[in-house]
Amino acid sequence: MTEAVQLAAGADCTINSVTANIAGLCSAKGSISIAVSYASIMPLLVLGGGALVILLASAVMPKRRYPGLWTVLTALIGAGTVIDGLVQWSDLNTFTGVPLTLGDQIIYDHFSAFFVILVGCATTIGAAISDSYLVRENLDGPEPYILMLLCSAGAVLMAEAAGLISLFLGLEILSISLYTMSAYHHRRAASGEAGLKYFILGSFSSAIFIYGAALIYGATGSTQYVEIFSFLVANTLVHAGVLLAGMGLVIVGLGFKVAAVPFHFWSPDVYQGAPTPFVGYMAAVAKAGGFAALVRVLMLALPTEAANWRPIIWVLATASVLVGSVLALVQSDLKRMLAYSSVSQAGYVLIGLQAGTTQGMTAVCFYLFTYTFMVVGTFAVVGVLQGRGEARNDLSSVRGLASRSPWLAGAMLVLLLGQAGIPLTSGFLGKWVVISAVIAKGQYALGLIGMLGAAIAAFFYLRVAFLMFIPAGARAASTLEAGAPEGEDEAEAAYGGSDFQTIAAAGLSGRDSALALRAPPAIRLRVPGATAAVLAVCVAFTIFAGVSTPVLSLAHTITLPWAP
């Protein structure tokens, strides 16, 4: 039996032998004993093992003996993952062996190592901003950190997977951790609602994904990327319906994870309800995992079907950019607005993916890496602003921030401008590389739609910036007392108000929204030390990656083991 398999596999490979590389991949097959390359799965071991260590330690340690212990441990494990990713990276620079390891289930290449570094960073900064929130909300405990580490392990597995089965494993580990994290604030009804919604819709999408994987298996006879690819190169399907349906369903399933329009409906509710620091972490890691998987599936397993999936991604990308930006305009809740903003950001990553080239793939990696720091930083600021019990999530909570806390306002400004894609931030370079990838393929319309979407999106980022830089409280109060001279405050308040129509008609119906707009209480904002450090890192990274080469070079070294 083994022999037969070996023969068949051997035949496959020699017949197809698309590249020497793939022949090399195939020749590793057939042996029963599975050689374990620990170097390739070390990040998974660090993250998963770290979760177990915390779990065990929390069982034997007295509760609340050492405040902040779990945070520090998680951050250290995250940092360890980053270091391991860097070690892998330097090892890979000289690595010439077969990139498939662990019974062909794991791909060991620069792409994997890049996502190890990305997820490690997200874990570190995500854990660092969680502590003060959990203490403030009386939720402190080891559980969220264990979930966070497991979720990171899932994301890494999604990026490293060499087949649809291991991809599905990673996807489920990631998703189930995130469902629980979303519902973690058990005293807030919104949090439970978020968890439940995410769980129900997420389970659906997982089912859709696995059905798609089954169809692809039915059409090609394998779930391994390399074999799907070899099969499709060597054979022309007479009836491609099953394969295309499978491909479509896989895209839907992963599209849900990255919250691409039209699979984004869960994201505003979940972002609004889930605990704020977890939202930042989730936005970074779930997107990273989802997009890594999309890149792997579409560019490694199905590059021959590019003519079929590129139009699908085109539609998803433009819809995400435009719908995300437009719907963000009308939100009055800061977290909901950021949810739609992250939908539109997903659109830009899809634009890079749409190119279907190595250039596009590196653009996707760069974009995701820079986005991680911007989104975690932004949610860190929101977490500070909202106050105990997430009491103030509406836009007015940022009003007058610049005079209350100039450093916080400055950090928020940089992060918002970064997301809007203003030059000298990493967000601009991200958009630049993504758009240049599609323009290199002659997709001018897509590039233009992307940039016009950025102009729409700039509006709501600017609205937050504007609110931060107008004085708090005093002016709104004077409007109510004295009636503003020359309609000044009406216009201003209407502009800062929640209603888009009111803004358009600023100065006409402004007074009502001035009444509705309550100034935030003049509390002193206390920025916890860890959060301040994370913000400093995020801001520094956003500027650093926007004006210098290292991160860009890192992304440009990435290649896939067999070129599309």
């Binding site: 601009f428 370079l429 590039g447 940039m451 102009a455 609205r463 803004i503």
Partner: protein
């Protein structure tokens, strides 16, 4: 390389801006103020030195003081700066206007953020004018929006949030086209580079490749660039953000917005539009000229109908930009030189006008004509200075406006006669709305409330004096200015003639071949063909 003057011109205000932002809160306001102003004045001194050291003559038509450093090499981007006759005086004007604008009262808001944003804006504007790398140009062009936005927000207009956002979004949306256009030009031009050369965003490399593109592609690319620049300038159908932005900004903000920021658009269309796509520019000239002529008439008429002094000046800039575009799209040495001189003139006179309007506001807290009147008798010096600036804008011989308008109309009359004729009517209309405004503000019986208005203080006179000096200097002795501009413009014209063989300046024309171009000086032309181009441009020399 020598003294890196251009890099210092960019980083001096940037460093000062960061310093101003980081100073502890307890720093006295005067220290912040003198620090900011000091940096701007030092910048002016540096730029003046550069203007004097700038070499003239046809042998020096290329870029001078260039600085080329590696930057973002994975994207084939470089830090590449240089100045030539086209950008030299725009840089000088920028350096002159900023200290004056910074000295003007910042409105109610804190002077600290005002100074910080101003310095940042100065740095970004300088980079835009000096950049020879398309990526760097785009970065700087976009970055100007952020300080521009906050300058308007920091003003004291009632609708400043609305105006600032409108300004930002219009320009940002226009830039989307520029973004795609630059990338497309880069990728298409790279295909025409000889194999082995590394693709780059270098302006010369782009121009070399872009010349070979199909004309239809060139036209589309020029349109993409043109939309962004037309919004920034603003050309007529794209101008609706402008009156709001200019009127809501504080005095200094309006000065730099009108005086410098919109020159970025006009400069962009010349440097990055006409130079990269000369054939397309010739083909699309009727469109640009028509919009410009429309702008002159429309801007003048709408300005005349305003009941608010600041809005009148704002609409006047729409007319002003029309003259610049008419000159640039004439494609003669006179026309383009005139267009550049007009950019400088317009910066000086509009800057001065907004400064004077700000002084009126300081005294009366209103811009409305119905509340002003008779100021000439109570504030005679203010009145006379106002008159002088208006005369410069109208084009009185002996002042700078005359030089610019004459060159523009002369140059364009040769190649595009009827548009020049319409533009000439604009000169008359300009006189109408400006003189009428002057009459309503300064003449007539002074209302009781205007009786107590004080005249210009010495500080205000000192602020206006450099602008007036510039206005008179260019009007009386334009030779140093023209001699620095002309070599670069000659090159540009030769480049256009080379790229588009069908485009010939009529041999009988005044503007034809006045300045001969040596064959080896043509910007990007291989030697063999360059001779033809030069022969064509000198052949009919009378």
């Amino acid at each position: 390389m020598g003294f890196p003057v251009l890099d210092i011109i960019i980083f001096l205000p940037l460093g000062a801006a960061i310093l101003v932002a980081l100073l502890p809160k307890s720093t006295p306001k005067s220290v912040v103020r003198w620090l900011g102003l000091g940096a701007a004045v030092a910048e002016l001194a540096l730029v003046l030195w550069m203007v004097i050291a700038f070499k003239t003559g046809n042998a020096n038509a290329g870029f001078q003081f260039t600085s080329h450093q590696a930057w973002l090499s994975p994207l084939s981007v470089a830090w590449y700066l240089g100045v030539d006759g086209i950008s030299l005086f725009l840089v000088a004007m920028t350096a002159l206007l900023f200290p004056i604008a910074m000295a003007s009262p910042p409105g109610e808001r804190s002077s600290r953020s005002y100074l910080g944003w101003m310095l940042l804006l100065e740095s970004a504007c300088m980079t835009t004018f000096l950049s020879l790398d398309a990526f760097l140009f785009f970065v700087a062009f976009e970055v100007t929006l952020v300080p521009g936005y906050f300058l308007i927000v920091n003003g004291d207009g009632p609708r400043r949030g609305y105006a600032a956002t409108k300004f930002f979004l219009y320009t940002f949306a226009g830039s989307a086209f520029l973004f795609v256009g630059i990338l497309a030009t880069y990728l298409l031009a790279a295909a025409h580079e000889p194999s082995g050369t590394k693709a780059s965003f270098d302006i010369i490399a782009l121009a070399r490749g872009a010349v070979h593109l199909p004309v239809a592609d060139q036209e589309l690319l020029l349109l993409a660039f043109g939309v962004a620049f037309a919004v920034k300038m603003p050309l007529v159908p794209f101008h609706t953000w402008m009156p709001d932005a200019y009127t809501q900004a504080p005095t200094g903000g309006s000065m730099v917005l009108a005086g410098i920021l919109f020159k970025l658009g006009a400069y962009g269309i010349l440097r990055w539009g006409i130079f990269l796509f000369p054939r397309a520019a010739v083909n699309l000239a009727p469109l640009a000229l028509t919009l410009a002529a429309l702008g002159i008439i429309w801007g003048s008429v709408v300005a005349a109908m305003q009941r608010d002094l600041k809005r009148l000046v704002a609409y006047g800039t729409v007319a002003g930009v029309g003259f610049i575009v008419i000159g640039l799209f004439g494609f003669t040495t006179e026309g383009i030189t005139g267009g550049i001189v007009e950019m400088v003139n317009h910066g000086l006179s509009t800057g001065a006008l907004f400064l004077l309007v700000g002084m009126v506001w300081e005294r009366r807290r209103t811009y409305s004509f119905s509340h002003l009147g008779g100021l000439q008798s109570v504030a005679p010096i203010l009145g006379w200075v106002f008159m002088a600036v208006i005369m410069s804008d109208i084009g009185l011989p002996g002042l700078n406006g005359f030089i610019g308008e004459l060159l523009v109309l002369l140059g364009t009359f040769i190649t595009h006669r009827w548009w020049a004729v319409v533009a000439t009517m604009g000169v008359v209309l300009g006189a109408v709305y400006l003189l009428w405004a002057y009459q309503r503000v300064f003449h007539g019986p002074a209302q009781a409330i205007n009786q107590g208005v004080r005249d210009m203080t010495w500080a205000e006179r000192a602020a206006v004096a450099p602008l007036l000096a510039g206005i008179i200097f260019i009007g009386v002795y334009p030779q140093p200015v023209l001699s620095r501009i002309q070599p670069a413009v000659d090159h540009l014209v030769a480049h256009i003639e080379y790229a588009d063989p069908s485009f010939k300046i009529p041999p009988s024309g005044v503007g034809h071949g006045t300045f001969a171009v040596p064959a080896d000086q043509v910007v990007d032309v291989p030697a063999a063909t360059a001779t033809t181009a030069t022969a064509a441009s000198t052949g009919g020399n009378p």
